[in-house]
Symmetry: C2
Amino acid sequence: MHAREPIDLLIAPKWLIPIEPAGVTLEDHAVAIRNGVIHAVCPLAEAEQRFDARERVSLQDHVLIPGMVNLHTHAAMNLMRGIANDLPLMRWLQEAIWPAEAACVSAEFVRDGTLLAGIEMLRGGITCANEMYFHPDAAASAFAELGMRAMIGVTVIEFPTAYASDADDYLRKGLAARDHWRDHSLIQFSLAPHAPYTVSDRSFERIVQYAHELGMPVHMHLHETRDEIAESQSRHGIRPLARIQSLGLLDTDFIAVHAVHLDLNEIDILAAHNCSIAHCPTSNMKLASGAAPLASMNKRGLRVGLGTDGAASNNRLDLFQEMRHAALLAKVTSGDAAAFPAHTALRAATLDGAAALRLDETIGSIVPGKAADLTAVALNSLECSPCFDPASHLLYAAGREHVTHVWIAGQARIKDGAMLWDRNKELLPRLSMWQTFLKTSAKSQ
Amino acid sequence: MHAREPIDLLIAPKWLIPIEPAGVTLEDHAVAIRNGVIHAVCPLAEAEQRFDARERVSLQDHVLIPGMVNLHTHAAMNLMRGIANDLPLMRWLQEAIWPAEAACVSAEFVRDGTLLAGIEMLRGGITCANEMYFHPDAAASAFAELGMRAMIGVTVIEFPTAYASDADDYLRKGLAARDHWRDHSLIQFSLAPHAPYTVSDRSFERIVQYAHELGMPVHMHLHETRDEIAESQSRHGIRPLARIQSLGLLDTDFIAVHAVHLDLNEIDILAAHNCSIAHCPTSNMKLASGAAPLASMNKRGLRVGLGTDGAASNNRLDLFQEMRHAALLAKVTSGDAAAFPAHTALRAATLDGAAALRLDETIGSIVPGKAADLTAVALNSLECSPCFDPASHLLYAAGREHVTHVWIAGQARIKDGAMLWDRNKELLPRLSMWQTFLKTSAKSQ
């Protein structure tokens, strides 16, 4: 008789959707975890024979999926959730968001807002965020404190803020933050030029150079509105995508956020360069920016992950909602009820987001050797009954309110729906303070 | 010194959105309830002076709104939630739904499915459902048992089912059910011809006659897909709306469900006849039927309420979701980020639904003299923090999972998030039984 292998944790869910292989829902399987890594995925009966688990979590009404990847957010904007609504992008930015940011944004604001956003994401089953905002060092410290995985953008924008004076200053400060966090296992950095209309050719050239030298992905808003494209055509004589292609951005590990207005040729160019889209359907609908051609992107092999955008333009950091909105919007705009079906949506919210970040060797699917970033969703409420197919239920019936357990690198972050972080009580009075501060600054303008 | 007036219940929420007057959010107000009716709405300090309440409910982090009206559903289809997805309407009906119904639908099926749907709706803050399905007597008995308000459709369709043999038989059985429930304060009946493509001119003529004689509203699917319109043009030479107008249906209290494909002239015709739309954005998107012209309907004064449709094509009976989807879809399709703003959405989900049912003298707003049908939503979770505007939070940040209390005619149905109905335990094994039955019948085909 063989001794059983010692492992740290055995998770035994009713259903398991590993994402790889594609389209599969396993029943009565278990995941064995050792040193934060997925050691095995096998039938429960086999797991009972093979492993001696220090801890065992039985999830008899649950489906286990990879932790979700939020491919675009501005976490600190959680402090501005709902501050202005029912406005188009440029009025929303110019009349509400930029003045509020000018008055309030500081390292403390970013840290508190990112903590609030991180808790919201973790409770909703999101284990990794692709972040873009000011004060990246403060954002990194908030994600690290929560034990959440993040790709922090070194934001670059030409105009001065309280945080930095010009594009070079943003780059210098952001890269210093990257150096500071270099040895943290959960925190990585990307380069995040804000958008074609706020970044100069010279800055783009520096960004491309750093991307190659330092091996950093590039994360940028692109083709969000028709106005953005018209402005580029009038100022540069070409569409924004053609401009950044000529500057070499598509030769980096490039993530185009929104990409609402792309023609088929542009989809093919992005696919040929192995670029990725961060599709943010709720934000695009709410700001009336338009509907990205998701069905065509899927057909032509362009990688698409899902992002929530910031809470000020959504107003939820909820990837269940983004999966549902992506599917519904793709169906209604393409006229094809089969567009973006359940397993495609689940892959976009997990593995394709991870691949966009070039983290797909580490996260994004439940396979041996990857980090144990996992989300469990209970499907036994009356709202989810009956359940004929857990994959379609994750897309159309369940919500983030049904997430019960979240692990990151094998560490429990959410258990029985509750956050395993005991500093909520310190955070709450600070949230009230920021709200009062924002209200006062809005009145004084 | 005056004696204080005795009342049954005083509810003191942080915020109160009465819907009438329009666009108002009251703070520190209270609702006084006597004999199931709203007796007064006034500042809390004044209420403390005036009333001696037998029960008092203090909701310090909550917004109180009128109970929501689900203007279109097929409640029993909850038993088929998620049974087939990612299919267009006619394939979904012909390949999945109609065969399942032929195998399974009985009075017991309808009663159990309606109980499940009723609980889902109540937990999500819906107090009144506009229902259309087979076995209306069984549906009525389920809603009555839960203490939920409902308008039960006398469904009419030409083809035979296990329930009825032909259109006359559907009418006869449905009207008998109406007679049976005539004295119940929460249950009323409408006439519910299924759709122009499944009901004959002769049946429509009888329905119009009954509608006038008995004062019943008429509730029907209309212009849901382009195929429906093309089929009518080829069979009748005119669009379905023109056909039913010529048959007199628009002279009844008519509710057109879906109305995805309407031109501006058709919108004006429906508005001129004081008809109403039951807009079901999730179902329309999921089945790729199209996007109803909501912004134009609003501008041209056509009344629009919101419906979930059945759980088999949605797959949630969730009016928070429908408000959000209606707003997001209206914005993205009209290109106007100001389309369908928060207070308009809240009115559609409450008062406009009530008016469509000709119940707006009884329900739909928080004003003295109306029934105390009320829903409380907690906005203190981290997912809803901060809260600058409770109305926009109801639309964009909160969800049905934040509903804590529901009253119907002054009777508590949900308290602290829990259903005050103690027969859940009997229902659960019956749900499993129906699921097994549906799976078996699908395999045997």
